[in-house]
């Protein structure tokens, strides 16, 4: 989230698209009901189904799954055509004025530089024109034909309301009604907030879905302001923490990233991470990358990381592929190239697509270790559960070890919520049976591995032997110790660079924030964005003071928000070019003539003059990006691409199937249904229900009571056509597998007309499996395709093709 849960109450308009907040985030949804009750805010829901969020919405419109970009580009087109743009904001705070290099073009769904054989672009022209002064060239008049604004205008012009209806199935008058509601928020005193979740990420163009809305929010002037923002509703408790501390295969903590195998030394690595400002006076905060990186390496390797060995740069693994994401790991597993797999709090047999392929992969492992507080399908993948999980245990040689762990209510530590708040929590109960904290298990494994390396050596034991492990009990580091390590501390006395007689930091003391981190090895910080969360003043994450001066929704004394306890990112953009709030009634910070002050921690240097320094300090431009340069693999502007499995061809680029740069493994092409095939005529989507949390709560009796048995949702029209009865059994199958489920026949799903063709939607909740208290069911991922987003490989769970028929119940 750019903003926070509590800030949603400050909005005038909520749009829930690509998510279902009432259903999946009921507790956070209270801030929507607060905004509605107290500010008269309106709620728009755009979704293939009339869902629980829609039940309390002011306006609902249907959309076919996988067509959000067409809808969003349609909104941008409508706003531009109808002058619903916050011009002062757009001109000053976005890259609308920047001139793009000559040679950049877009045609028939593709940008310049596409190489079909590589399924990738040469992205060299996707850049700004750089002037003789070394800065990007801009045109403040927005008249240059290659300025971002004119390219954007051109790019979105195809997405007319008629085109939106043709692609999305959203009736034109409903689209226009929504456009008008949103257009009002181009006023400096009206804001809209976007709440989205997996409904946008789980597509082969998920990242571009989100960019589409971010661009709209920028031209409406809704980023950095109270009641605005791009608000990703994180699903798993602490999934925000997972990305923060870099648990993705190509990440390091604090959004640093792992070197590739071409970056063999630190200077090459740093050369592309200089982040030189692209406009005069800009902060380009990533210029501090080296400080954060060196402090991280000191935290990892302590005295073994020295200036001489480039801070132990050689200890870091170097990636030979863009990422070892889960889809790639399972593809490698299926090829027999993985021996050992650790599942820590993870149930991939349910959570990743194409269950048959996953099971085949797991069957080829030598060892599978499952660390979980609950029984999982993954740990039992080898068991035969009849139709629910066909397996031949005798033919599977994988050894499975289950290590019972504690659950969140038995742990102490911090969880990071969607609003970037690190909230400390205390155990509510003692671990049952043999369950152990994850930290204990990992430490025990590490200490044994280390002993083995010490004894036997090996090709390169240094990273293991020299890993810094200074805990009171090496067998189980305490949550406080780990939190302090992430916060960071001074390793020696740190002196003021201006006045070396002054000590800035004393050796051994915790740092107060990332501003004091150094690239000379004098400071250590495990995760720079968490600096300030555990300081000499105490555990900031454990703070529970809910005072909120002038009811701004900031709650600065409640827990700790990264970065620097800031509650709304880019908050300098809440003020105009003179540093005065766009909306005085929603003041956040302001320029008092010499510095920035206000209710939130300013997201800018305290004395940075408002006319000089742009609000988007993490970007080298100082502005938000309507044009993403070469940073997205699939284009600097979002383009509507159909899902890999679609009932219709792409209207704007009929030859393109799916996202043209999304990675597809060779075997998986054969497992996609052809566009418009009569074998699989229905557009399917998967989703969550309020009554359950993923595959956990089916283990809990009360949740199992509330939603006991697997079902699929279809329209009354489709039910009639296929002779499926309400509450009767239906068989749903894709090219990859089949499930049997009860049929919920509903008015809340309606057939759509797409490019003249009737398209039916089949909705498939995901919560059932073959273990747990609820009735046995089929994992929904039996059906889903093995392909991910072109940039981050999130699987395309939200749009694929199936067939359906009336059936009898499973014979277990």
């Amino acid at each position: 989230m750019t903003n926070s849960w509590t800030d949603i109450r400050n909005t005038d308009l909520v749009i829930i698209m690509g998510g279902n907040a009432a259903e999946a985030h009921p507790c956070g949804f209270k801030w929507v009901t607060e905004a509605k009750a107290n500010r008269g805010a309106k709620l728009i829901v755009v979704d293939p189904r009339f869902n629980r969020s829609a039940s309390v919405a002011d306006y609902y419109a249907p959309i076919r799954q996988g067509t959000d970009i067409a809808f969003l580009m349609g909104l941008i087109n409508w706003c531009i055509s109808n002058d619903k743009v916050q011009w002062a904001y757009t001109k000053a705070f976005t890259n609308a004025t920047f001139i793009v290099k000559e040679g950049f073009e877009y045609q028939d769904g593709l940008f310049t530089g596409y190489d079909e054989s590589k399924r990738d672009y040469n992205r060299d022209t996707w850049e700004y024109e750089i002037g003789p002064d070394g800065y990007a060239v801009v045109d403040d008049t927005l008249t240059h034909p290659r300025c971002v604004w004119n390219l954007l205008k051109q790019h979105v012009s195809v997405y007319t309301p008629e085109m939106v209806e043709r692609i999305c199935g959203t009736p034109k008058e409903k689209f226009l009604h929504i456009a008008q509601m949103i257009g009002e928020c181009s006023s400096p005193t009206k804001t809209m907030t976007s709440m989205y979740a997996l409904g946008w990420t789980q597509h082969s163009k998920g990242a571009q879905n989100i960019r589409g809305m971010a661009m709209l929010q920028l031209i409406l002037g809704n980023i950095g302001v109270r009641g605005g923002g791009m608000n990703a509703l994180r699903g798993h408790s602490n999934i925000q923490g997972l990305t923060d501390i870099g648990l993705l295969s190509n990440s390091l903590p604090g959004y640093l990233n792992l070197p590739t195998d071409k970056e063999t030394d630190i200077n090459v690595y740093m050369s592309t991470r200089g982040f030189k400002p692209l406009r005069p006076n800009q902060m380009s905060y990533w210029q501090n990358y080296r400080k954060f990186f060196v402090s991280f390496m000191k935290s990892m390797y302590g005295s073994a990381a020295t200036a001489e060995n480039n801070w132990a740069y050689d200890y870091l693994p170097k990636l030979d592929v863009p990422s070892y994401d889960i889809l790639r790991m399972f593809d490698l597993m299926k090829q027999g190239k993985i021996n050992v797999y650790f599942c820590q709090g993870f149930n991939p047999l349910q959570a990743f697509p194409n269950k048959a392929k996953l099971a085949e992969g797991l069957s080829k492992l030598k060892l599978l270790v499952v660390m979980d507080p609950l029984q999982t399908e993954t740990a039992r993948f080898w068991e035969d559960h009849g139709v629910f999980n066909k397996a031949t245990p005798a033919s599977i040689q994988t050894e499975v070890i289950q290590l019972p762990t504690t659950c969140f209510a038995e742990d102490e530590g911090s969880l990071v919520n969607s609003g970037r708040w690190l909230q400390w929590h205390w155990p509510g109960g003692s671990p049952p049976g043999e369950a152990k904290h994850d930290t204990w298990i990992m430490s025990q494994i590490f200490l044994r591995l280390k002993a083995l390396y010490a004894k036997e050596g090996g090709a390169f034991p240094d990273p293991i032997l020299n890993l810094s492990w200074n805990y009171k009990d090496p067998g189980e580091p305490s949550p406080e110790e780990l939190a302090k390590e992430m916060n960071g501390s001074a390793l020696v006395d740190v002196l003021d660079p201006v006045d070396p007689t002054k000590k800035v930091l004393e050796a051994g003391k915790l740092v107060s924030g990332f501003g004091v981190l150094r690239d000379d090895g004098t400071t250590a910080a495990g995760c720079w964005i968490y600096s300030g969360s555990y300081t000499e003043a105490g555990n900031m994450m454990a703070r529970r003071d809910n005072s909120d001066p002038d009811a701004t929704g900031a709650y600065l004394k409640w827990a700790f928000a990264w970065p620097a306890n800031r509650r709304i990112l880019y908050n300098r953009a809440s003020c105009d070019l003179d540093g005065k709030p766009w909306d005085p009634s929603r003041k956040l910070i302001e320029w008092d003539g010499s510095k920035w002050t206000g209710y939130d921690v300013p997201d800018i240097a305290p004395t940075a003059k408002p006319q000089d320094v742009g609000p988007f300090i993490m970007n080298a431009e100082g502005t938000g990006r309507l044009f993403a340069r070469k940073m997205m693999r699939d284009g600097p502007f979002p383009v509507h691409y159909e899902p890999f499995e679609s009932p219709v061809a792409n209207v704007i680029a009929p030859k393109i199937v799916g996202n043209p740069v999304a990675r597809v493994f060779p075997d998986d092409w054969k497992q996609f249904a052809k566009t418009g095939t009569p074998d699989f005529p229905y557009a399917a989507t998967t989703y969550r229900l309020t009554e359950h949390f993923h595959y956990w709560t089916k283990n809990n009796h009360v949740n199992a009571v509330l939603q006991p048995q697997q079902f699929v949702e279809i329209s009354e029209e489709l039910a009639r056509e296929k002779g499926i009865e309400k509450g009767g059994w239906a068989r749903v199958w894709s090219i990859r597998g089949e499930i049997l489920a009860k049929a919920v026949v509903t008015k809340r799903i309606k057939p759509m007309t797409i490019d003249g063709k009737t398209v039916h939607v089949v909705g498939i909740p995901i919560h059932w499996g073959f273990v747990g208290a609820a009735r046995k069911g089929f994992p929904a991922n039996v059906l889903t395709p093995f392909v991910g987003d072109a940039n981050i490989e999130t699987p395309e769970f939200k749009a694929f093709l199936v067939n359906i028929e009336a059936s009898t119940g499973p014979v277990a």
């Binding site: 009921p26 009750a37 008269g40 309020t690 939603q707 309400k726 008015k747 809340r748």
Partner: protein, 333 residues
Amino acid sequence: MFPPIPNPSVAPDAAKPRFGEKDIVRRSASEVTPPAERLTEVAKLIDVTKCIGCKACQAACLEWNNLTEEIGFNHGVYENPMDLTPNTFTLMRFTEWENPETENLEWLIRKDGCMHCEDPGCLKACPAPGAIVQYSNGIVDFQHANCIGCGYCIKGCPFNIPRISKVDHTAYKCTLCSDRVAVGQGPACQKACPTQAIVFGTKQEMKDWADFRIKDLKSRGFDNAGLYDPQGVGGTHVMYVLHHADTPSIYAGLPDNPTISPIVDAWKGVTKYVGLAVMGFAAAAGFLHYVVAGPNKVSAEDEENAEKLTEGTAPPPPDPAQSQGNTQHGSTP
């Protein structure tokens, strides 16, 4: 935001109940001397227009009251179980309603349960002395030790709420968490509700809060938004805010004008004895059936048929014998 009820004090006398025997204003099949002073009336307000149907109230009710409901089946709808049971005191009911004026679909989600009537039909119909009591704050509570399981409370209830347990043969329904309210807390469902669709306070506070909500709804075009506090039963201590207060029955059969059946009013006359005789006969007949034919057994086929019969229909009729059936599913299909 409605001011949240503070957490309970840990002071030693804070746990002392704030009301009890001395505050009883009505007692089934008995005369009571009304207390000298009436407690402030309490009420729970269920704002259907803020409800997202998450069922947190349903879960909280099971957990606070330590109830175990059976894991049932899907019947083609979001409700589960399909009806109130001796364990399910509160149930979310979902109605897909096409508004004829706007042609828009509305998904009406109503939390069903005891309304705690000011003039309680269950209490009036009850033949067992002291099985049902009403406190002066408005809470209508069942006292299981006195209940004879006759089911008359169900006949007397204009909202079809109580259910008879097959385990202890006594009637169960929402207590308005009288144990929590007695120590200054709100009901468990209210505590669990994430959107403040359920709020709790004095009856007057609830009416005022409802006015505030109704103003907002009218500003959004719900001209018939209003408070459901039916006067036919003297008003209730559980009230609803409805977007369409002119047609309560669209909310899964919420009675438009609930009143106590005239038969109940005649109860105190001769019918009392006739009724008791019929009851005794029925019990004897039931026992005889058990002895001769053995207990009823449900086959998988029966179950399949039962599922088909119940799908998509309104909640089963207020027949206590049938309503228990929902908890008796055991076998897998």
